[in-house]
Symmetry: C2
Subunit: 513 residues, 2 copies
């Protein structure tokens, strides 16, 4: 709890808001956590869950389907491999993770000022990922496209509260499924200069994503530094399918970051009790991180979690509910004991529109992510409809909350200025603080200021058109796209990327599913 | 973190939902906290703030305006009284608070099954308080009235997630200001059987509120037990006006509970830095609690806080922002060191309607209240527009979030059932958990289920009319009022209350301001 942390959050916030108004967006390369994490369990509880994780790994194990090289890595490491089932002797997975996984690393952006640190006290916000649909309040819900994809890359670039460009910010379903990764990676590079994620849906797509990064950063640099991430979803419960394990190994082989994320809807892909889902999530994620360490020791990795509950009457997934929020807190504690960076998500909701349901659920989910100590928060902005839609207005509302979380993470300074005794001496009982020296002195940095909340009087609000926050957010994203200016890109690099894309696209027929 | 806690939350929740569907609402008399509090500072930080509190009390002190008996109590207790300014020797206020304030007490309801415990591990949710306006999405914003007041008493009675009937759930501005307290107290008694709050706006109104409680509970019982609360707002900074200190002493004298709450909008009634506002809030509240202990040692009291930030460009108050959320966490820590019950609020927002802004701000504010360890959470449901309006739909949305917080506070059980190893043994890799024995066994208690969130598919939601959550909440409060049935009230008590009201109303002319 230092005043430095606070000054950083407050001042950065103001500067970012000012800079964000015109020209290139301000640089806020992550935020340093100056508040403690929210810890749910003591030593005894954590040890109990760790024992359950060990039992799952040892007794039940996991399946690696259709990927013999992964099975070989496990056999060589000392695991018990029977067909595609792998069982892990007690402590094996933990030892592999602890032995070589970096505690923190730099994820490089092509603009070095926007590189982010993953791990330690740093927190990185990244947009939502993977929606086939997009939504805005004017045109409603429709399929994603490359144009929408580029719009969200531009919005994340223009928002000072997104530290990262994300990955599949929406699915460009107008492009062939076996080629769209090229346009997605190109869009991140061309329309932003923040760090980004590549494709994971097949090994060759992962490798081509990394190859494009090499054209930007240089082959040697990429071999020694993280410049791209792959988000690896476990096929929960307890299965890695070939696409995922091969893509994970492709990123690790290239010394690039894998984000290993079990996807557990309680009652469907995991048990209905949260403690069991936590143990499962940790076991699955640890195995993925360990696999990457076997593939290339020391390659950067992030241990992820994605817990959700289910409305048991209908079987529908639910988000932003209390159980996953508590679960995240515990996963944060367990992951800190491993010392690897943690991914947590995000601004979750099942609502179809950015209404009160959406923002309440998102606030619960995002606060848990921040309080649990996550280093990389995917799905920080835009998520709607259980992940099926990327929302324009939702993106703006979530990004504004990310701005608030910068101030939250900066904590409360306890220096003399913070305690303000001189202000009380100046003002005394029954007077107001508006004009006092302390207020004037702190005016620039005091109090987080929302860019989208309406704090005006009822009459002012009514006279300005009685707009709800969705309408105000709609005006904001339209203005941001209007004001967008692309960051410069070396023409030689641009040409090399375009040539690579063209050649790769010609090398195979279009596939649409 | 016991499984008992969990079972209580989960099972209670289901039972309450079932019972709430027909007839008398289920009894959920508070919830026991089974999770730890979120602590921001260590010993060093807390001591630093406590030193600042001492300095404020000693050096600057407070004014008690127009209430010589309060000044006499302070002089007799050893304070330094100069005119209306009271300065407190180091440790005096803390010693008085520690000496006799109960650590917890029962707040009795006329239906004993609905009595609540304030203090310890108990958490009590109470509706919003004090709005001159009401709002619903059909008719918009208009002045409060006795009819609206009664509607909100009925809604709080019908909601299993409100443990308490509240106080001025809206201002019945259609009644004379010097008589409306009689109708408010009568409405709480007649249309609910939950515990409630009385008037504080003048000493005689406080005394008449308590007198009505005596007609219900009996004079002797009231002298020995808490049956009514008074919410005492400090005239921050550092002033108690006569109405407040006299009302506070009236409640204490009758052995009834005072909730002492500084109202600090940073930059206006306090400094713009959060540490200073925390010190001020604690100093002001401790003095109020101590005054009540001087008036009657051992009378029940709750130490309150109400921190807010300000949009410094406009001077408008802001709510649900990060600074007050952090401030609440620290006030929780400091209050636990005093060992007295804590009030925190609530579902705050500046939004004029229950849109995304409203619910996000409310979620931030309510989560802070729950995480900081508050025992009594006023403004748990209904608050809009910085407290100027009580919202019907907002009440429903907030009450639903209170339901979620029951599950949150119940924590994660780590027993064998929770860890679910047998479920993994039954299901194994790659299968789903829907039909497994563990799921069936836990079906009744697993996962919090919102009564208002829409988790359906886009198509189902669209075909049901594409309703946003405000519209669904609108349908719900209308249905609840339709289904409302008044709890029985002894006709003799009813008659005595009506006679007291009539006599008191006749005794003085109407006053309208």
């Amino acid at each position: 709890m230092t005043s430095a942390g606070r000054v950083r959050g407050g001042r950065q916030a103001r500067q970012a808001q000012r800079a964000g108004a015109t020209g290139a967006p301000a640089v806020v390369p992550g935020i340093k956590r100056a508040i403690p994490t929210y810890d749910l369990f003591g030593e005894e509880g954590l040890v109990r869950i760790e024992a359950a994780i060990d039992t799952l790994l040892q007794e039940i194990g996991m399946e690696f389907r259709g990927d013999p090289p992964s099975l070989k890595l496990w056999r060589d490491a000392g695991a018990d491999v029977e067909g595609e089932r792998v069982r892990f002797p007690k402590g094996l997975v933990r030892d592999i993770v602890l032995r070589s996984t970096p505690k923190s690393f730099v994820h490089h952006a092509r603009n070095p000022a926007r590189s982010v640190v993953v791990g330690g006290n740093n927190v990185v916000f990244s947009p939502a990922y993977g929606s086939p649909f997009v939504y805005d309040i004017d045109e409603g819900r429709r399929y994603g496209s490359l144009e929408h994809f580029q719009n969200f890359v531009k919005l994340a670039y223009a928002s000072p509260w997104m530290h990262h460009s994300g990955g599949t910010v929406c699915e460009p379903v107008d492009l062939p499924v076996n080629k769209r990764h090229l346009d997605m990676v190109y869009s991140h590079i061309r329309w932003s200069d923040k760090a980004f994620m590549g494709s994971v849906t097949a090994e060759e797509r992962a490798e081509e994503s990394i190859e494009m990064a090499r054209l930007v950063f240089g082959t040697d640099f990429v071999d020694r530094n993280c410049v791209i991430m792959g988000n690896i979803n476990v096929n929960s419960p307890l299965v890695y399918d070939a696409a995922m394990s091969k893509a994970a190994r492709a990123y690790a082989r290239a010394n690039q970051c894998t984000v290993v994320v079990p996807f557990i809807l309680g009652g469907a892909m995991g048990p209905v009790t949260t403690a069991g889902a936590i143990a499962q999530s940790m076991a699955e994620a640890m195995v993925g991180v360990a696999l990457c360490q076997l593939e290339r020791p020391g390659s950067p990795a992030i241990l992820g979690n994605f817990l959700s509950s289910t409305a048991l009457r209908s079987g529908a997934p639910t988000f932003g509910t209390p159980e996953p929020a508590l679960g995240s807190l515990v996963i944060g504690q367990l992951t800190r004991r491993l010392g690897v960076p943690l991914r947590c998500s995000g601004a979750f909701t099942t609502s179809k529109i950015p209404d009160g349901q959406a923002m309440l659920e998102s606030a619960v989910s995002m606060q848990a992510a921040v309080q649990c100590g996550a280093h990389f928060i995917l799905h920080s902005a835009g998520w709607l409809e259980g992940g099926l839609a990327m929302g324009y207005e939702k993106f703006i509302l979530d990004a504004d909350f990310c701005s608030a979380l910068h101030t939250y993470l900066a904590g409360i300074p306890l220096d003399d200025n913070g305690l303000a005794l001189d202000a009380f001496r100046e003002v005394g009982p029954g007077k107001h603080f508006f004009g006092c020296a302390h207020t004037l002195q702190n005016y620039e940095t005091a109090f987080w200021d929302s860019a989208i909340a309406d704090n005006n009087s009822f009459e002012q609000w009514r006279d300005a058109g009685s707009k709800d926050v969705m309408r105000r957010a709609n005006e904001k994203w339209r203005a941001m796209l209007q004001a967008y200016e692309a960051p410069p890109l070396d023409p030689g690099i641009d040409e090399a990327l375009r040539a690579f894309m063209a050649k790769t696209k010609e090398s195979r027929p279009d596939a649409w599913h």
